[in-house]
Amino acid sequence: MSDRILVGTRKGTFLVTRNSGRWTPRLAGHGGAGVNFAARDPHTGTLWALLGHGHWGAKLSRSVDDGVTWTDAPQVKYPEGARHYLPPPPTDTGEGEGAPVLKPATLLKLWCLSFGQPGRMYIGTIPGGLFVSDDGGESFALNRGLWDHESRGGDLFAGEGNGTTKWFGTPAAEGEFSPGLHSIVVDPRDPQRVLVAISTAGVFETTDGGTTWRTRNQGLLMDYSPNPGEEWAGHDPHAIELCPGQPDHVWQQNHCGVFASRDGAATWKRVSSPDDGVHFGFPVAVDAEDGNTAWVVPGVSDAKRMAIDGSLFVARTEDGGATWQPLRKGLPQQNAYDVVYRHGLHNAGDRLAFGSTTGNLYVSEDRGDSWTAAAQNLPPIYSVRFA
């Protein structure tokens, strides 16, 4: 188990370290800047942070001295000629009219980071891009297989493709109705097989290292759509994770409930239990060995993104979602309005940690049975990763 947690917040990167049984936070860098995600490269030890400067745009930052100093890394940029379909611009009446319009793609947000085999890194962005590095982060290239996917209009570098997109957008795009790639999981059996999840497009899989991609949305349900089971359009996974020890077990906290797959995301089954409060939320964590054990942090609903009845709890299933246990010991049970974002929950062995928009970081040493506050009064927390 790791004794250190890397925390990305609205106002900087924090390291929270356990010494003599006590967790202590410290600001490790980027004070004042938004940090959407921070993680440690397990191969090199380099710390990476995905920044969102309010005025100066998204920037990639790294530390090779364990968080003592940080420098701008080579930046992620959409290549010249990258375009995407967006809704038509508002008219004088405030409503867009007509067909989607092609616009140049520029980086709005660096949203998630994942590591593959040594030297390979993945970054998910808004608008809906997957950037790949094969030189340890010295350079990143837009993955064209996914960017040019038929569901998004096809190859738009050269022409107008098929003229439309099935992808929707996310409010996280900060002003533009664009999709966001927020989850990247690499199959530990085969690094050529990668799953990504996009709000709002759904889950995509490659088995050839990113050359080709196919949708993996069968069984997902869009309760907000007249065609809830449609394979291509507008699915809203909030986060996906797989079980490293049983990689065919994949879990998803979706806008429309918790879904589980036992066949590597080929098919999904909704395993929410609204009567237990388990339905809406953002993050999901999966046990490293047991693919039937997962954790979520429920909220009320999409219309009320807040803890249920002012009472914060984590829900755990150990039977693939057939039943859920509320885990409340040590968590505030009244006047709590914490929301946990999609990258705000992580596990390592029996230890779990989650951080909330209210700046609270809670840690469990016993698989969620009980919790202690590792840090409070932090800025709103965007990501939590053992490091």
């Binding site: 309010g54 100066w56 745009g57 930046q75 940029k77 010249e80 520029t106």
Partner: protein, 91 residues
């Protein structure tokens, strides 16, 4: 040659551009390119990938806000003073 001053916010990232910087340039674009040569990475702080001024950045030439945010074609005279600041947008 025109002189450039930056918001102190940018000094945090580009310490060598503190104070008044003198650069070559007859347009705002050329001034940005000159600053990029002095401080690699600078241009991507004030412009996006396609060269447009970021939404929350303003540039003034001799006290007048520039008009061309897409290609940065506003003229800069040899004696001009260029000011690059964040656009206050509340919050």
């Amino acid at each position: 040659m025109p002189t450039v001053q930056l918001t102190s916010h940018l000094h945090e990232f580009f310490g060598n551009l503190r104070g008044t910087t003198t650069v070559e340039g007859a347009t705002v674009r050329e001034v940005i390119d000159a600053l990029e040569a002095m401080a690699p990475g600078f241009a991507f702080y004030v412009c996006d990938e396609v060269g447009r001024l970021r939404q929350h950045v303003l540039i003034y030439v001799d006290g007048v806000r520039t008009r061309d945010r897409a290609t940065l074609g506003d003229a800069v005279q040899p004696g001009s003073q260029v000011l690059i600041v964040q656009a206050l947008s509340g919050g």
